[in-house]
Symmetry: C2
Subunit: 328 residues, 2 copies
């Protein structure tokens, strides 16, 4: 069996079976970040790699790609409510890369980390066939304070920090020649080229104490909800799919389903959260105080899985999302 | 200018110019590890990438390659006298990789970390054209206790933790068809396939308080000495190039210069150290107590650079070593 037939998640399962797990891991394998516990501190670690072959769409500059490699990692810290301090970067570069291109990558990396108060402390440069940007990030947290995927409870409110579908639409413009009018084009392309991590929102939400489970939506909204569902042992009914207005227009123009664009995208960096309903107001106010938004999209139910309530009918939301190696 | 013309070090220089440095970095850019300082603690971080294209010679299995990707990182911690606790691994894998090969990589990674008391806490899997294994490692240290490259003083003893040249010889067997008799073949190939990091030695040496500067020899003995020379502002005269006995035999058999093999190799993971001469005995005993060796190879002098004293004559040791992108 080859990876191109079985996909990334099967590869991860095979790897995890072969790794000896550290006793008493403070954050289990498979959550957005990892952690090491020493005395009363939690050291939070994350690594995420961007590969030119699959992760840089036509139309994205090296500056944008390098910045995005940083944002991807910051987003995972944001989802856990942990402030990242420092980053290391390992680069794989083809021999034909020019020094100007290297400069552009370095500037994109620096722009990305400084946007979130992080510094790059070191790294490594290597020759490779593809461009590879592997970022590792480090932060600290108090024990027990990290927002995991596993705490969602029956009756919790499901919420997100923004609207979805812009990245899917932007990629369809870049890669499939889909149409967009002037007034929405920039926002849709901007979602692809200049993604933002919701770090302020994540830190504020952790401080509010209202969050029971959290994940970032980098694998798509549907996939992220399924991940919380699996980790927490609950299900979700969505009654308000948070489709961005631009995406509704874009979908109409291209005869696409806007809900599909919002649910099954990926490379979006909103936070997907379950919130203790008693603390909803506090959570919403806290996020708004840092300039963000908290949007109710549904509720937690006992039946596992993710469902869409629409005109009184229930539709299944499939665990579909971006996966390396698989061609949809 | 393309990387294949200017080499890896020029790329690093370009990158460093574009990165905003964190104020008061506890360990400067370019040392073997990076560090972040918080309250009274130093968080030590390192990332190093192994790329199939350039770093896996013919004859090296994926298990060996994965284990080596770990050892490379442990070796940098060893050189700084810091115990690593945890690792993250980002993989780039070609689509045609089989699940059996993924298993082999995972087992090699696990074998590597467990050999040094480290656990893998998380990671990331991606599709790439080459096999890419990017390992990040994490440990802690007391402030001011890390053995840097920059502390060598006039009159210090230059020492190493083992003999050199086996890896160069082993690579010449694998890649250039050089000859080796039965009695030395295993040791030479073993140096390539199963490198060891000198973690026990590094930790013991730090505890001895005798070390003034330290580096690992992954870029070759000559290169490593030049790095300490640059960082410390001193020079070195070597009167005893630590050539492994097997390498002398191998060199004779293949009409090669054994001293060249020992000086200008790379991918060797001995520690290269300068030692306060008053504390030499203590340093040597400490290393021997953990089963290691400390071999005097020269002394620190005021004249910058690295020199070989041989039959009363002084020869320059060039700053030559392994560099990505450049074909020697």
């Amino acid at each position: 069996m080859r990876l191109r037939d079985v996909g990334e998640r099967e590869a991860i399962a095979v790897i995890l079976k072969r790794l000896e797990a550290m006793p008493n891991m403070p954050i289990p394998f498979g959550d957005d970040v990892s952690a090491y516990s020493l005395n009363n501190d939690l050291f939070v670690l994350k690594t995420d790699m961007l590969v030119g072959l699959t992760d840089i769409p036509k139309g994205m500059s090296l500056w944008h790609a390098a910045r995005k490699a940083v944002v991807m990692n910051v987003s995972d810290f944001a989802a856990k409510g942990v402030r990242p301090y420092a980053a290391l970067v390992s680069l794989g570069l083809p021999g034909e890369t020019t020094l100007n291109e290297v400069e552009e990558i370095a500037e994109g990396l620096n722009a990305g980390v400084r946007e979130y108060g992080v510094y790059i402390l070191g790294g490594d440069t290597n020759e490779a066939s593809d461009l590879v940007i592997s970022v590792s990030m480090f932060g600290t947290a108090e024990k027990g304070s990290v927002m995991l995927r596993s705490g969602a409870k029956l009756g919790d409110i499901v919420a997100v920090t923004g609207f979805f579908g812009r990245t899917s639409a932007g990629l369809k413009i870049l890669l499939e020649g889909c149409k967009a009018t002037e007034d929405i084009r920039d926002a849709l392309l901007g979602a692809v080229l200049m993604p933002k991590a919701r770090l302020d929102e994540g830190l504020a939400l952790k401080a509010s104490g209202a969050v029971t489970a959290s994940i970032d939506s980098s694998d798509g909204l549907a996939w992220s909800l399924h991940e919380i569902s699996k980790a927490s042992g609950v299900g979700f009914i969505l009654d308000n799919v948070p489709v961005a207005e631009d995406v509704v227009k874009f979908a109409e123009l291209n005869e696409l389903d806007p809900v599909e664009l919002a649910l099954y995208g990926g490379e979006e960096y909103e936070l997907v959260l379950t919130i203790n309903p008693k603390l909803w107001d506090r959570a919403k106010e806290t996020v708004e105080r840092v300039g963000g938004a908290l949007i109710k999209i549904g509720r937690t139910v006992a039946e596992r899985g993710v469902f869409l309530e629409f005109n009184g009918r229930k539709r299944v939301v499939k665990p579909k999302g971006w996966e390396h190696f698989r061609r949809h």
